[in-house]
């Protein structure tokens, strides 16, 4: 007596959830029934379609220098705690913003790229401090200017702070003003490296991050020039 093969069974078969005997029974039923075969094929196609569309998200480059990576996270945490204990000045408010810890995961990658200065995140400096040449470029350059650091856009976040999306050392990054300086809010390895980097565009993940914090539209050339003259709101 053949069991009834319903859609649940077909889907379980497509998902590879059946043991050999059960799978053989479904295969037999599918072979004998064109309607079942068509149903199985539709489910298989849909599964493949989702797999193909979502796969690139999980193919994002995993950091290749695990040793350099989060060594710095623990060290940075310790350094910050020590600093806070020694000199109880207000902790950088930005630090606890969503994303800050994920960004700190990336600090090690930045160290690997020589992006965070020699002392690295374990030094006395804040883990998300930027190297001097990057700071200088963020202070001076307008969006689209050529150089080792390329600024793609300037915008305000929802707290009203000025932020800049830029690429340096192969990292697509976002830095915002805080405590009178630039603080790194986000960084991912840029998908396109070096000279091919699109000046006005940027990395998809970086753009998604900007979309999540931006208030209003990016600054136009005139507003950006004025913001620079105002030293980025001090």
């Amino acid at each position: 007596m053949a069991e009834t093969i319903d859609e649940t069974r077909i889907i379980a078969w497509v998902d590879g959830e059946l043991d050999d005997a059960a799978a053989a029974r479904v295969a037999g039923a599918v072979a004998a029934d064109p309607a079942l075969a068509a149903l199985a094929e539709r489910h298989r196609r849909m599964k493949a379609r989702f797999a193909a569309a979502f796969a690139p998200l999980a193919d994002a480059p995993a950091p290749e220098r695990p040793a350099a990576e989060v060594v710095s996270l623990a060290a940075a945490r310790k350094a910050r705690a020590a600093k806070a204990a020694a000199a109880p000045r207000p902790a950088p408010r930005r630090w606890m913003a969503p994303g800050a810890i994920a960004a700190s995961l990336l600090v090690g990658v930045l160290v690997g790229h020589g992006y965070v200065g020699g002392g690295g995140a374990g030094g006395a400096r804040d883990a998300l401090a930027l190297p001097a040449p990057t700071v200088a470029a963020l202070d001076r350059q307008l969006s689209g200017d050529a150089g080792a650091v390329r600024v793609a856009m300037t915008f305000r976040d929802r707290d009203g702070s000025l932020c800049r999306g830029f690429t340096a050392s192969g990292m697509a990054s976002v830095a915002c003003r805080a405590d009178g300086g630039w603080r790194l809010r986000y960084a991912v390895p840029a998908t396109t490296q070096g000279g091919d980097y699109r000046q006005a565009g940027g990395d998809a993940a970086q753009m998604a991050f900007i979309q999540s914090i931006i208030a209003g539209d990016p600054l136009d050339r005139a507003a950006e020039t004025k913001a620079r003259a105002d030293r980025w709101g001090k």
């Binding site: 859609e7 649940t8 889907i11 379980a12 998902d15 959830e17 539709r42 489910h43 849909m46 599964k47 379609r49 989702f50 797999a51 193909a52 569309a53 979502f54 796969a55 690139p56 998200l57 999980a58 193919d59 994002a60 995993a62 950091p63 695990p66 040793a67 990576e69 989060v70 060594v71 996270l73 969503p98 994303g99 800050a100 810890i101 994920a102 960004a103 995961l105 090690g108 998809a204 993940a205 753009m207 998604a208 991050f209 979309q211 999540s212």
Partner: protein
């Protein structure tokens, strides 16, 4: 880097993909990924070395998503995403592939409990038993949500 941090680093890309299966758009998905990484780092003591790290990570992200979704639904009940239809883009999707954005919007029209089942099994490729463990539901419940979700998706995508 300790064992925990190694696990987290290698799981992050998969968590990001799972987030895209759950969230309404790419910007929300990246927010969710970061929030989940943050939560996992804070709650690292909850993970037992030797236990299934991926299952724990998926569970953390899923619970976070449930919390934020409920909070949002309370806040802006007026905005009915479902009425946007499949062809309308959402902010933050400019850089997502058209196909991915389309499938994400289809996922977004599923009831939450079907969406999470479909995301774990059909997108993340978890076995039914693993997905049921992540969601803390019986296998039978998982299976029926999965089947209903896939039937609904098929209807949306093939019509």
């Amino acid at each position: 880097m300790d064992e925990f941090e190694r696990h987290l680093t290698s799981l992050l890309p998969r968590l990001r993909r799972f987030a895209h299966g759950l969230a309404r758009n790419a910007a929300d998905a990246d927010d969710l990924t970061q929030a989940a990484a943050e939560r996992m780092l804070k709650a690292r003591d909850q993970w037992q070395p030797g236990s299934n790290f991926a299952a724990w990570g998926y569970r953390v992200m899923r619970n976070l998503w449930v919390d934020t979704t409920r909070a949002r639904q309370r806040r802006d009940r007026v905005l009915v995403d479902e009425e946007q239809g499949l062809s309308v883009g959402a902010p933050g999707e400019a850089e997502t592939s058209v196909e991915l954005g389309y499938l994400m919007r289809a996922m977004g029209r599923l009831p939450d409990e079907q969406r999470e089942a479909v995301a774990l099994v059909m997108i993340e490729g978890l076995a039914y038993a693993e997905a049921a463990e992540v969601l803390d539901i019986p296998m039978g419940t998982l299976t029926s949500r999965l089947v209903r979700g896939r039937q609904a998706l098929m209807k949306m995508l093939e019509d």
